[in-house]
């Protein structure tokens, strides 16, 4: 596992390493934020320490020294905090946040194939400075360790650098014995590299090689005299190890020495048990987590969730996202073929074929549910970066803001998750910058100094809602209206008939910015319109409710999945169109006599409501070849509260289809959100009802 020993195997681990590092860094972030709120809670410091410690061990093992040295420094500071050697201050927290930022950058570099190197000197210096603020305590502690180490195994320990020591110590904590083995080959040994290989092979059956001196490369190239040293960890006894190596022929002498470290100071106990957690089997791990839970004096709700998450994760495996995408693509092909088969079986009217196809449809339906479920990711993956962002922004803006996240476990399709991050960032920035007022103004308005921003996610039917609520100033409707008129976004006549939320939604129009002064945070006049278009391109919609002086609520509605949707296929003259079921309320047949003529608009009376008729034939300029009959077939669709009746020629039926994009070239197509391939191999366009209803 260490550098150089098994370069090939390292690559295999790299992915796992990156994933886990990210998780640990995220945990650090979350706990740091928590710590900021409860600076006296040593339990949280312990959690952070644990994450940092694991991260250090992992990166040292993987050979990322900068990463390891920075985490090491961070760990020192954390250690001092939890042992009350340093008084915890917000300034320290800032530096730790900086360090975490650097760590994130390094992991990102490794992920993109970089070497994970970064100049971390300044942060390390700052950390060291914090640590030295209580240098007396620290140094004595270090001296102690060094002194005990001297006593027991001076020569051995000094030969390992910090990282190797960490690895050795960790393994010792996990019940392995560290050994240093000196092996001499016979003088007349001819194939020294072969013997070396055999020794390594023999050792690997017993434990793990940590280090070799000379290095493995040199040993393989026979760049050594007759003896070499291996640092090795194993659960076997010294004699067993010795006997095992002696079995290799031409080995002259084997000297196995146990490596002894000083006793860990008691304060390290906490981290040790954490390390053991990783190595223990699932059931025990849960027990440990649970017992820890009980030990805590005030087990908060969040902690309970963490334990649940730990249980949950033990039953999962990691799958590369690419593989899931390939699976999805293959399945999409299958759905298209299924459609084709269904059509063939209908045409042939063969009972057996019909039954088989029917069964297959059911099975693929189940398969589809499972595949789509597999692609579901909790919105947490997007939300978890916001607490830090909000903290930073609040500081930059000199505002006091409390961010509450509700429903982070709500799941969404991966493709949606990938796209939703940026729009949310925009909205949050907007809420912080323009929504929540400064503490002074809030006080003057009899509000609490600290503004509350709630980020909420929940499922409802076939949709996921993400809401951002703030108790800030709300939207100044007069100002917005004036601005919209000034910028020519709406006409004077139109302005009079707008509802309150329609006025509020004007801030999503392009080229709009009401901030009195342009700030870094938001208010560049681009942004919110991008939010709107991104969400609409995802098949979603955004609405705003706002009460002046009380706050605003931005509500985003998103489809659960993007790739396979249920549609109603309709025929308009010779052409087929697909209308997403998610927009449809119902279908109806309306007699021509029942159609009413409004001003510039034909309408029908639908369950007591006046609903405008939209003739798709005209809107889509469909070539007319058929005679009209006495009735209109209409599909009632909605966008938010508003309804419209789309007039078509006939209904073909309901079908699951694979949504395909029209490609970037045709992205301007009006009222068409995409296309799908039908059973007969032809392309049908998917109607974008949101664009049709104004």
């Amino acid at each position: 596992m260490p550098r150089g020993v098994r370069q090939m195997e390292m690559n295999q681990y790299l992915e796992v390493f990156i994933e886990e590092s990210k998780e640990h860094l995220q945990a650090c972030n979350e706990h740091l934020l928590e710590l900021e709120k409860n600076p006296d809670n040593i339990q949280i410091v312990n959690e952070i320490f644990r994450s940092a410690h694991t991260l250090k061990g992992m990166s040292a093992t993987m050979g990322y020294e900068d990463l390891a040295s920075l985490t090491h420094q961070m760990e020192n500071v954390l250690d001092a905090i939890r042992n009350h050697k340093i008084v915890f201050t917000p300034e320290i927290l800032d530096v730790i946040f900086l360090a975490v930022d650097d760590l994130e950058a390094m992991i990102a570099s490794i992920e993109t194939g970089g070497d994970g190197k970064k100049n971390v000197e300044s942060v390390v210096k700052k950390l060291a400075a914090i640590e030295n603020g209580e240098a007396i305590f620290d140094e004595t502690a270090k001296e102690e360790v060094a002194a005990t180490a001297m006593l027991e195994e001076p020569a051995t320990v000094s030969r390992y650098d910090e990282f190797e020591t960490t690895v050795l110590k960790q393994s010792e904590e996990q019940g392995f014995f560290p050994y240093e083995i000196n092996i001499s080959l016979r003088q007349d040994c001819l194939l020294k590299a072969v013997r070396v290989f055999m020794v390594f092979e023999a050792l690997e059956s017993l434990g793990e090689v940590i280090k070799a001196n000379p290095s493995v490369e040199e040993l393989e190239e026979e760049k050594f005299e007759n003896s070499f040293t291996i640092t090795f960890i194993s659960k076997e006894t010294r004699d067993a190890v010795q006997a095992c190596i002696m079995k290799v022929s031409e080995v002259d002498e084997v000297d196995v020495k146990p490596i002894v470290f000083s006793e860990q100071p008691a304060l390290h106990q906490e981290s040790i048990s954490a390390e053991q957690n990783n190595a223990l089997p699932e059931s025990k791990q849960q027990e440990l987590v649970e017992s820890k839970q009980q030990q805590e004096e005030n087990p908060s709700e969040e902690k309970g969730e963490m334990a649940a998450a730990a249980k949950h994760s033990s039953k999962t495996i990691r799958v590369n996202i690419e593989r899931l995408d390939i699976l999805m693509n293959l399945f999409e092909e299958l759905v298209i073929d299924r459609g084709r088969l269904e059509q063939i079986s209908q045409d042939l009217k063969d009972q057996e074929l019909h039954e088989t196809v029917e069964r297959m449809s059911r099975t693929t339906g189940d398969l589809q549910n499972i595949i789509l479920n597999m692609r579901m990711v909790p919105v947490e993956t997007v939300f978890n970066r916001f607490p830090r962002m909000v903290r930073q922004l609040a500081r930059d803006l000199n505002k006091k803001i409390n961010l509450e996240i509700v429903g982070a476990e709500t799941e969404l399709d991966r493709t949606v998750i990938d796209e939703i991050g940026d729009p949310l960032v925009h909205l949050i920035r907007n809420a912080l910058d323009h929504g929540v007022e400064t503490p002074e103004i809030r006080r003057a308005n009899n509000k609490e100094e600290t503004g509350t921003v709630i980020l909420r996610a929940y499922h409802s039917g076939n949709h996921v809602f993400i809401e951002l609520e703030d108790d800030g100033a709300g939207i100044n409707k007069k100002k917005v209206l004036q601005r919209a008129l000034d910028k020519g976004i709406i006409s004077k006549e139109a302005a009079n008939s707008l509802t309150d939320s329609q006025i509020a939604e004007l801030i999503l129009a392009s080229g709009f910015s009401t901030a009195d002064k342009i700030s870094d945070i938001s208010g560049r006049g681009v942004g919110l319109d991008v939010v709107k278009s991104t969400i609409e391109s995802l098949g979603g919609s955004i609405t705003i409710e706002s009460q002046e002086g009380k706050g605003s609520l931005f509500s985003i509605q998103l489809p659960l999945t993007l790739s396979i949707i249920s549609v109603m296929l309709v025929e308009i003259q010779e052409e087929k169109y697909a209308i997403p079921l998610s927009s449809i309320i119902e279908t109806a047949i309306v007699h021509k006599q029942d159609v009413l003529q409004g001003h510039n608009q034909t309408v029908i009376d639908f369950r007591g409501k006046v609903v405008p008729l939209l003739f798709l034939k005209d809107l889509f300029e469909v070539p007319v070849t058929k005679e009209e009959d006495e009735f209109y077939s209409v599909v009632i669709v909605r966008k938010g509260e508003k309804l419209a009746a789309l007039v078509v020629d006939s209904f073909i039926g309901q079908q699951e289809v694979v949504l395909k994009s029209l490609g970037s070239y045709l992205s301007y197509a009006f009222a068409i959100s995409g296309a799908t391939i039908l059973g007969d191999g032809q392309v049908a366009l998917i109607v974008d009802c949101n664009a049709l209803i104004k």
């Binding site: 395909k660 029209l662 490609g663 970037s664 197509a669 009006f670 068409i672 391939i677 392309v683 366009l685």
Partner: protein
Amino acid sequence: MLESVAADTKLIIFELKGKEYAIPVHQVRSIEKMMHITRIPNIAPFVKGVINLRGVVTPIIDLRLRFGLDELEYSDRSRIIIITLNDMDVGLVVDAANDVVDVSEDVFEPSPEAAFGTEVDYINGVAKLEKRLLILVNLEKVFDREVLKNYVRSEG
């Protein structure tokens, strides 16, 4: 102007109203016979619609209409040339596509402005090949989305 054409290039030759046009073979993915095209409403007239090209929804434009020539009913000779442009697949309907030639770079000349008018930006130049005159098409300009934007209706 002709950087995209390396010395000794293979060109696909197609026919449009009796004239011969050429595009580099490396930009061509395949040549298809006419198939069902699904019309896209409210878009530029030269966009004929989309086809199902082995599972990929591919936009198709009629090159005659794009070049401002009169429309011709599709026949057995009509072909759809599928090209790959900036990672997107798009198709061109042409009167016929029936030749591949090797040419060296030195036969190309910038298009004589008088012949095509100054405003035409989708022609890269011409090549004289014995008695034939090949007109080199600039596909990037043919599929310029800005041109398409002008035709798009934004209100319902």
